[in-house]
C-alpha cells in the first residue's frame, strides 16, 4: 500500500518526500477534525452523567 503510493507520487525524491508529508498531514487532519469527533460519542468511556 505505502509502496504503491510512493511509486505513484510524481517528481524527484525530494519532492516525493514533501508530497508524502502533505498526505500524512491531510489524513491526520481528517481524522482529528472529522472522523474522531464523529466516532467519539459512540464510544463507551466518556459518559459522566447518571440517567
Amino acid at each position: 500500500m505505502y509502496g504503491w503510493i510512493w511509486r505513484h507520487l510524481p517528481g524527484p525524491v525530494a519532492l516525493r518526500v514533501v508530497e508524502a508529508l502533505v498526505l500524512v498531514a491531510a489524513v491526520v487532519a481528517l481524522l482529528m477534525f472529522v472522523v474522531f469527533p464523529w466516532v467519539e460519542p459512540m464510544l463507551p468511556f466518556n459518559d459522566v452523567s447518571v440517567q
Partner: protein, 304 residues
Amino acid sequence: MSTSDEESGTARVPATGAESPAASAADRPPVPPPRPRGGKLRTAVRGFGEVLITLGLVLLLFVVYELYVTNWKSGRLQREASAQLEQEWRSAPQGERKLHVDPADGQAFARMYIPTFGVDWSFTVQEGVGPDALEVGPGHYKNTAMPGQPGNVGIAGHRVGKGAPFNDLDLLNSCDPVVVETGDSFYVYRVLPMRDEVDGWADSKGGQQQCANVAPLQDKQGAYDETFGRRIVLPDRGDAVAPVPYKARNPLPKASQASLLTLTTCHPQFSDAERMIIHGVLTNQYKKAEGTGYDDLLAAIGEA
C-alpha cells in the same frame, strides 16, 4: 614496459567488460533483486500487515485526540464562557444581580472552585448535561436545585479529555470545600463523611475545624441513609441527583431537605462502566461584596 602494458591491458578488460550485463552480474551480487513475479500472496500479506500497522497508528492517534486535542477545544470554549459570565456579572448593577432562575441550555450561570485542586482550579457551570454543555465545562443537571437552595445541586463533569474538570475527583476527602459562585453569592459546600467515617465521626474527624458544619446526614434524617461523601454507582442511578439522593420518590418536603451538592463523573477512569458520585453539604454562604473575590473567600474559609 611490456609487463606494465600487459597489466594495464588485462586491467582494461574487466573495465570495458563492465558495460556488458553478463560481466556485471558476475562481478557483484544482484543488488536490486528481481521483483518476484506472481507474488500475489506476498503482496496480499504485506498489504494486510500495512493495514494493521495503520490501524494501530490510528488508534494511537485517537488516544492523543482524546487526551490532548479535545482539551484545546474545551479550553477555548471554557475561556469564552468564563469571559462572558464575568462580563454578565459585571454589567448587572449591584443589587439587581440574581441567579437566573432558568438559564438557557448550555448557558454558563455559575462558577465552581475546588481549592483542594489548587487556587487556580475554576470552571464555569453550564446548564444541562448534554455533550455540548459538558464540552465547555461541568454541567448542571436540569431540574435539580440551583446553588444554595435546599435539595440537591447535581453537576456532571468529564474526567478524561474535554478539559477533564473532574479528573481528580477521587482525591477529594471529607470536609474538602467545593465553592459555587453565582451572581451574588459564594456557596461553600463540603464533602460529606465517607461511609467508613460515619461511625465515631464526632470523636475523630468531626472535631477538626474544617469539619465544623459537616456531620453525617443520617444522624439527623433517616432518609439520607445512603448519602455518603463518595459513592460508586451504576450509570442508571439517576436518583443520585434526586433531592434526597438515592430516593427516587422524594420522602421529604422541600423545607426539611438538606442543601446538597452532588458531583458525578465516569468511573473507573477511562471507562464509563460506573459513575463516581461525590456528595457535599452546604456549610457557609457569603454575599458577594464589592471589591471582594475568591481570594478573600479562601481566607474566610481557612483555605488560603
